[in-house]
Symmetry: D2
Subunit: 402 residues, 4 copies
């Protein structure tokens, strides 16, 4: 066990990180600083969190408001790549990890800590994401991952551990589902979901209405996009975080953004989760709609391949790498033309782009319709096809000669 | 103008190909054979089609039933790749073209024709798809594309052309929307859709109920999959075509499978269409759901990249190429493990996989949950992360030394 | 035939473009401006070129020195992507076309021309490259491609055409090989090369010594690289063009940079050529050598995939597209770490990087060797492997249960 | 420490695995079976190996001749993908590991062993390759990796360990370079190579002549290829292994197949090695030469992308995975046309394909040359280019309107 003096812990106020504070002090004989990242997980998780941290034995508690920065510098760039993990997952937890880790590292450097600690379990992705970020940003700091070290193996053990030390907690023994939330999404795992043949139930969904309970009347929202970034919604200029909050409310009301997925974790196992990303799902649909107007065929395909690659990089916690910077640069370049306006219809769990326009649109009514025009001459197609299929023709002629 | 004696025309019975028959005879002084492909476009388009062809001047009319073969040999292999064009389009028209062209070529070879003819316009994809298939399958045959040759430039001109020749037609002047259908999908273009800022209206949708008019109660269907192919639905073994027809009915009832897209055509312009693929959308969702269970992370990513590549190949009419065969072989290999059962919920335009299981599932309740197990030891993760992020660490240590 | 008043012709002084001047005047009744791009094709091709152009009937002749700009803004960015077409070809002709076209367009806009003309044949790539650049940069200008219009079908016909008009030319009837040169490379096609079973002979190689005639003693050059660009050679700071000229001389002396390739042209046919890129081959090897030191595994693979994609884009004349900009941005981002020094050995046709170092090197003698170190703990590997192969293990256990 | 009864060790006869036998017996109290794979590493390494194993304490020693199978079932399929790791490395060690592991597992199952053991170090790739194969083929067996367990940390310690136990060895203290050989290649690491700024010296190269010492006269070999596999050399039918041995001799004589590379290991560090693959380099060049004739543009690009992907999979020990099978299937499909004959010139370290022909060649003298022909009409190019550049044109027209 390394000798450390001062540890900065990514603290959530939940049962796990509450137990980690005394555990660190006892096992490492060190000072513990609680670091809380506000990434939009919700007021209820932040109220009284400083008191809670101090009561658990932290010597100080710092809270960093990262909400606006997260949407602007992590989510918007990711959206430009079109990253969707394994065809479904909008990377809600993944995108929050690097910014939390970065702010935690900055806190650690500021307070002169020599170690970093997180409360992620040993079977999950988040440990990899946190520690990959630490490695890239502060390789000199020691990393402590209690879940891979201690022998506390159940919720009950944690509660006992706190009770023995008379540390107050509001956590209860009964907690079937494990959740993670930030401004972009909330995830639910465990319980009934552990058998893939079980259907999810109402406990698996937190933010969004069940589509069956959503309004019977559709609602429209309009989104204005500049260089691949949403700059206004329903006619009102909004910051990235404001736009997300606004669209979250709209989407949730209409049951938009639910997915129930079995995914490949980075550590080699599969897990199942129910994820809700109401506003994000609307944003994604809006961006893709403008792309339909402005990206040419080869650019669209490349944007899709970037998105596929980026989805793995982001999921895998590779944010602070040259490769990720390279992909984001490629996507940002393509996004220079992604300007326009989209009207989206929300209804019973679905979001559909029903109107779209762009000053950069390559679509032209004149070109697309039946008749002749100045740009497109029907006769061009003959030559095009001939050369386009020439290798096939030569190959077939070859075969016939045999 | 090449000299030809006998032409086999891909004949639909519509206005265009009806005019093409006399036009060919007059301009090429040749015999015209009408070839009709039954790809599930619907009874109403086939009733009396032979009489119609003969009345237009064809010397013979052959009808080939390609429905089962199309689903089995073209659609199912494509589904294994996961091909979706530009993120939305299930390639309905694209997948039908190669099989029609192939059967048309076979007909031409059988009747000793020296030319092939199609009625596709000069601005579309289908001319490329037909002629690319011709080039690969019968490069020795002359290809005639009347739309790129004649000076008939409007519906009115075509009607006049037929009237002058006293050829009967049921076509009317007023036809706002252009449609194409086969067992897999129906597409609608033109009219109000020509301005991307217009919303689609009820005329743009043919097969599927408007989600708002769909039943208020969800319905479930169950699908059994073997090696990436659907072999039974709702407990009943079905052939590929039967399964599609069955799921089309279910999907259409619930408004499933509508998309409204602006896409890049192969010929360099963009066009907008409303496409309905009710059964196909269910099939696609079912396959992807089993893949979630059985494909490991790298295989899933590769399957997605194959799908992206295949979507362009298929859209672009490259079916009969070595590259397409190579992609299909790769996808088929991955599909060997895609076995399982999925329950899907249909509701108001959405299809959602709500239950899934597979004998090849890599998901394991034991591994995924919190506790220790025999396969996964929490402590492994520490070493994994260390090596996983080692290059980042070395890079960062390097930077610090500067 | 469109009506044009003033045409700017990409003029080389060769037989083809000499005939094009009078042909344009006669057939289009227009003024012809000769535009000459100096891309390092060699003094002998530029001497007296203005007089020649005027003697052929041009009203003016402009010569633009593009040498430095070509290497700096076209070749260096391409090198960062690692683009090599079909595994061999360093894109010598391809990279010169966009800059020539761009300068030609600028000339046309300046002199108020309404048309652009080039002398590329109808079976080659260059027509596509020129006209794709024109389309992107000046779509309003008419494009004239005489080789696709006139009925002059042989060298003899061209000579007769000039003789009839008493236009002097130094061209002779006997010209077996067709060549194209710029600072980066020289290509040779035709003659004995037309049969792929023939070996090339001494007429197929112009710049470089036959390796068998090259010095029996190897020579070393050292190259300094900053952010993926060569900034000094053999200890002397050099501009991009200077570095290329210097390395061309060294490489040519040692027979470096010859390839004899059958390649896929963009227009669907294959052609064979002998290409010499002496300096470029050295540059490429030098860059790749530094990349070995600084790029991590995933970045290296992505750089290779960018290079593959870029090779086609550049070959295909897609330089002035959003997609190309996107790829170049991605490559440039990765090149930020490509700093270092390489010593290369030239010998009998080969160039080999024999020494390399970089301030950004991820290679560390300490880490790479046998023993323990602070960064790498042997025991980490056990956990790494376990998780790395976990999906395989689960899959195999699964299979055994069946 | 797991309890095991009988271990099958991948035994090489070298110092490391000689020490492992007694170490296993002492530390695991188990029977040890030595398994020797003959993959063409050379007679001198196999002579007396059984005696050696028994003298070290093994209860039995099995030798499996895998030479022919390795070339046929591992190397030839890999060659079809075109896999070259990080642009240079022909995967010599990587391709041998899966077949050795597979044969070792088969041996273990046959003798009823409950554990597998290898002598790979904890910083290398081979431990991952061996154990990934074990996980896929026999997940139920325990894996022992002594280098990650014991505290013997130097050559000296190993010699002492053997001496204490009176186990004879021919190993000496002084061994600067570490080597690995099989029929395909030999690698050399360590010593002077540990500093990337050092040039390699004569001790770094074992099989091949220094190009400077190679014959001054070039030599030609001819290779016959069927479906991507070499079936005859210099006019004589040869099995895969025979062809490799024959070409190794030719190549080595001319100094062909040397690379000196810094590569990214799978475990996150970089290492430098000198690799010699004389015959393999000739084989690779021969295959690529036929591909130039037979693969169309898109197929060639896809083959290259498969090769890139396969190079990582193979390097990373992913042979026995669905993804690897999928890639090999894709490559094999493309290889169906790779038939032909190539003459290659060997000279002073270089191998160059100087003549090539194929019954499937898409190259045609008629099409490639200047004049008109039946297949290619110059005028087709005009239409082709127009549509090919249409999106660029529309985009530019758009920009001008702003």
């Amino acid at each position: 066990m390394s000798k450390v003096n001062k540890v900065v812990l990514a603290y959530s106020g939940g049962l796990d990180t509450s137990a980690i504070i005394p555990w660190l002090k006892e096992n490492y004989d060190c000072e513990v600083i609680a670091f809380v990242a506000d990434v939009g997980q919700g007021e209820e998780e932040l109220v009284g969190i400083e008191e809670k941290a101090l009561a658990s034995g932290a010597s100080a508690c710092y809270i960093a408001d990262l909400k606006e920065e997260m949407v602007k510098d992590y989510i918007y760039p990711s959206l430009k790549t079109g990253a969707v993990y394994e065809g479904k997952y909008l990377l809600g937890t993944s995108m929050a990890r690097p910014i939390i880790a970065k702010a935690q590292v900055e806190c650690a450097l500021e307070v002169g800590a020599d170690a970093l600690c997180h409360g992620c379990t040993g079977k999950g992705n988040d440990q990899v994401r946190f520690e990959s970020a630490y490695a890239a940003l502060a390789p000199q700091l020691t990393v402590i991952a209690p879940w891979r070290e201690w022998d506390l193996r159940s919720r009950e053990a944690l509660l006992d551990y706190l009770a023995e030390r008379k540390i107050p907690t509001t956590a209860t023994l009964e907690k079937i589902y494990s959740r993670d939330a930030n401004a972009w999404h909330i995830s639910t795992e465990g319980g009934v979901l552990e058998n893939t043949w079980n259907q999810s139930n109402e406990l698996c969904w937190v933010w969004t209405k069940d589509p069956e309970d959503a309004p019977n009347t559709p609602e429209e929202v309009s989104v204005l996009i500049e260089k691949g970034e949403i700059v206004a919604v329903d006619g009102k200029a909004m910051s990235p975080y404001e736009a997300l909050v606004y669209l979250n409310k709209k989407g949730a009301e209409h049951g938009v953004g639910r997915i129930d997925i079995v995914e490949n974790r980075l550590v080699g196992i599969k897990s199942r989760g129910c994820y809700e990303t109401p506003g994000g799902t609307i944003m994604m649909e809006a961006l893709r709609a403008v792309e339909q107007l402005v990206l040419d065929k080869e650019s669209f395909e490349f944007r899709e391949s970037i998105g596929l690659k980026a989805s793995h990089l982001i999921y895998d916690g590779r944010w602070f790498t040259p490769l990720c910077r390279s992909l984001l640069a490629a996507a940002d370049e393509l996004a220079q033309d992604v300007n326009g306006e989209v009207v989206l219809k929300l209804y019973k769990g679905q979001v559909t782009a029903v109107q779209k326009r762009s000053p950069n649109s390559l679509y032209s009514e004149e070109f697309a319709t039946f008749g002749e025009d100045e740009v497109y001459d029907h006769s061009h197609a003959g030559g095009f096809i001939r050369l386009y299929s020439l290798a096939s023709r030569i190959r077939a002629l070859n075969e016939q000669k045999k």
